[in-house]
């Protein structure tokens, strides 16, 4: 069929089954927007900033497991999208971002709104394309979606010069792709898997180390089965919260810089690390030479470059977590679960010694209380997104995540401003679910304009601002490591949050007591409008435990304990 390049873009999006596209128009992409106007195969949501468009597509992708799509114009439209690409890249999120570019004849001339998009995005995309002719456009679009979702997923940029969107040519969307240089390994080598299973049977203190790859490969049922069958305890990274489910007795918690005591001790004392889609990030490992010092390592990852990048690996298995675990399960029929009994008991004692705890108060709301209260009130049903800072860590530590894709946050890049637009994307994907962005008084302002988007499209996201009047996480480091010199972290000057939300078509609540917290949440859920819950919390609360950067995991700063006499110790 004959059609313009712009139409081809729309047809490809429809053919890929994408229902919602997030974006922002401009000169170089106007032809595509003209076609968007004419079609009804997908909806387009106009965010109020390109960064937010990409984060929203990202939130949509993380919530559903499908490819998210965002569209931006050339030059500043594209550069605004870069943080979104980098955020998705670091967490391996499948996205296709389509950017307009100046006409082919102007490329290289410093034309109006020309910027080298493929050059800039090279290190923060899985792959990118500058389309050079109309003939290759259908193939490139097909490849973009395929590359985004296959293997280790990631964002793909397709940069399309304006004249190509105008040109008319024959369109046939390919049924399949042919990229001979790209062949991801899914299955896992049988011999290696056998050896790994053998090692599991011989270990005394094995530990499941679960990462974001377990979420990406939709492996949670299999991972739970693996834990169940072997009775091997498990720790989750920040990106894997929800894989085991909070109620699972084999889950020790989150490990790493803000991991709980039992999880970090487990990693320090284990004799066999079974890594399932985790990548040994420095926020997880602390000092590498002390990390899992007594352990052999089984490393299952779809990306060979992740394996043995940071630690020596004894049993490397390149493959998809779900497919590899599927193969392991029948081989573990005869595993002797009693073997690990003593180990489980040691870890149980560790957890009793230093449970994930905090000292509650009646005078002021403690952030941990707020998170736990959210868990009690909306729990399994809600999708929780977050921004970056203390609130993010408290959410990861204290929210009872029950399933993967329930917890959406920027782990790898740590992008403040991610949470709100990501929540908009997630809510659009699951309108019937409560979607809450747990955010900070710093982060929320980094994409606050999205109040307007959420109000216009009636996307009732609840933003719970844990307001400490600080760039809290940075303030915490200043407290611990910079002798309390609070350089540029005091946010005492604040907007009127309620008025701000209202001015943009939402609602606001000022919350200072536990009663107000409950009442505000109840009202927010009933109102069905985008809202800010401005929750005043204890200003100087710290995220604990904490492993100072570069320190060994077992050297944790621990939270104060409440003894039986009620005194804080």
């Amino acid at each position: 069929m004959q059609m313009s390049g712009a139409q081809m873009v729309c047809e490809a999006i429809i053919a890929e089954g994408v229902k919602t596209v997030f974006g922002y128009p401009g000169g170089a992409i106007m032809h595509v927007y003209d076609e968007i106007y004419k079609q009804n195969g997908f909806e387009h949501i106009l965010t109020r900033h390109e960064q937010a468009a990409v984060h929203a597509a990202d939130g949509y992708a993380r919530a559903t497991g499908e490819v998210g799509v965002a569209m931006v114009t050339s030059g500043p439209g594209f550069t605004n999208a870069v943080t979104g690409l980098a955020t998705a890249y670091m967490d391996s999120i499948p996205l296709v971002v389509i950017s307009g570019q100046v006409p082919l004849s102007l490329i290289g001339t410093d034309g109006f709104q020309e910027i080298d998009a493929v050059g800039i995005s090279r290190p923060c995309t899985k792959h990118n394309f500058l389309v050079r002719s109309l003939e290759e456009l259908p193939r490139i679009l097909k490849e973009a979606f395929y590359l985004a979702r296959s293997g280790r997923p990631g964002p793909i940029l397709v940069d399309i010069p304006k004249d190509i969107t105008v040109d008319v040519g024959e369109f046939k969307y390919p049924d399949s792709v042919h990229i001979p240089s790209y062949k991801p390994t899914y299955k896992g080598n049988n011999r290696q898997i056998e050896k790994a299973v053998d090692a599991i049977k011989k270990a005394k203190k094995p530990l499941l180390y679960i990462g974001g790859g377990a979420v990406l490969s939709n492996a949670y049922k299999l991972v739970r089965e693996l834990a169940e069958k072997t009775q091997i305890p498990a720790v989750e990274t920040l990106m894997a919260r929800g894989v085991m489910g909070a109620k699972n007795p084999l889950l020790l918690g989150m490990l790493g810089m803000h991991g709980n005591y039992a999880s970090n001790m487990a990693m320090s004392e284990t004799d066999l690390v079974i890594s399932l889609g985790a990548r040994f990030d420095d926020r997880v490992t602390g000092k590498l030479s002390e990390f899992a010092k007594y352990a052999d390592v089984i490393h299952i990852d779809i990306d060979p470059a992740n394996i043995a990048k940071l630690v020596d690996v004894d049993y490397p298995i390149v493959g998809d977590v779900a497919q590899v675990v599927q193969k392991m399960l029948p081989m573990l029929e005869d595993v002797n679960t009693d073997r690990y009994q003593a180990w489980r008991e040691i870890l149980k004692r560790y957890d009793e010694l230093h449970p994930q705890s905090y000292v509650d108060s009646d005078e002021v709301i403690k952030p941990q209380w707020a998170i736990e209260r959210l868990g009690e009130l909306v729990g399994e049903e809600a999708i929780i997104t977050s921004d970056v800072g203390q609130h993010q860590m408290w959410a990861a530590q204290h929210y009872p995540f029950d399933r993967p894709r329930q917890w959406i946050n920027s782990g790898g890049l740590g992008t403040m401003g991610f949470g709100f637009p990501a929540a908009i994307g997630a809510k659009r994907a699951y309108p019937e679910k409560t979607v809450i962005n747990i955010t900070g008084d710093g982060s929320i302002l980094m994409n606050v304009q999205e109040l307007v988007t959420a109000a216009e499209y009636k996307i009732p996201v609840i933003n719970v601002i844990l307001n400490n009047h600080f760039l809290g996480m940075v303030r915490q480091w200043q407290t611990f490591f910079y002798e309390k010199r609070y350089s540029e972290t005091d946010l005492t000057f604040q907007p009127n949050w309620k008025a701000l939300a209202q001015a943009c078509g939402g609602i606001g609540y000022d919350v200072t007591t536990k009663e107000e917290f409950d009442a505000a949440l109840k009202d927010a859920m009933a109102q069905n409008k985008v809202c800010f819950m401005n929750v005043a919390i204890d200003r100087f609360e710290n995220v604990l435990p904490m492993v100072p950067a570069g320190g060994a995991l077992f050297n944790m700063m621990l939270p104060p304990k409440i003894e039986n006499d009620g005194e804080e110790k």
Binding site: V118, G119, R122, P123, K126, H127, L130, R132, L147, I179, P180, S181, Y182, D303, P304, A305, A308, K309, D312
Partner: protein
């Protein structure tokens, strides 16, 4: 393994011959802090592929990462970390015309090369040999005050 020292290594990368593929490869080295000592690239005859030869340095862990990261690039077909190889490098050296021609001819001949061009004000000698021998040739040639030395990168083929 990880503590073995920074060894010189030669890697061949077979890539799809498309625009920006070289940029992807070099950007990867720059972005991840790997070394490029020399680099050559040319299309593979009768194919839609190109052959890139990179001379680099690093310990075993770094080399493993370089190889794997190169493999991850979508247009990369094959990465060969050479063990048993034939490698050659070329160098052109320009001398002022006053230099003793027979000395230069004899020197270049000793390294399987020769004089390839004589102009009104200069002579150009060429040598193509193993990189180590090319280095020796350059050291010897430097005694004759050359006005310019242009080295090509290494090319290698597995034996």
């Amino acid at each position: 393994m990880a503590n073995s020292n920074n060894e010189r290594r030669v890697i061949s990368v077979v890539v799809m011959n498309e625009s920006s593929v070289l940029a992807r490869v070099t950007a990867l080295f720059a972005g991840r802090g790997y070394n490029i000592e020399s680099l050559t690239v040319a299309p593979i005859p009768n194919s839609d592929k190109s052959h890139i030869t990179i001379e680099t340095k690093g310990n075993a862990r770094v080399m493993e990462q370089i190889t794997k990261q190169l493999h991850k690039l979508i247009p990369v077909y094959k990465v060969i970390e050479h063990e048993e190889m034939v490698e050659k490098e070329m160098v052109l050296v320009k001398f002022p015309i006053g230099t003793n021609m027979s000395d230069i001819a004899a020197l270049a001949a000793a390294y399987n090369g020769g004089i390839v061009n004589v102009g009104p004000e200069m002579v150009v000698a060429q040598v193509a040999d193993e990189p180590k021998r090319v280095k020796h040739f350059i050291e010897a040639a430097e005694r004759y005050n050359p006005c310019e030395i242009v080295r090509g990168g290494v090319v290698a083929i597995e034996r």
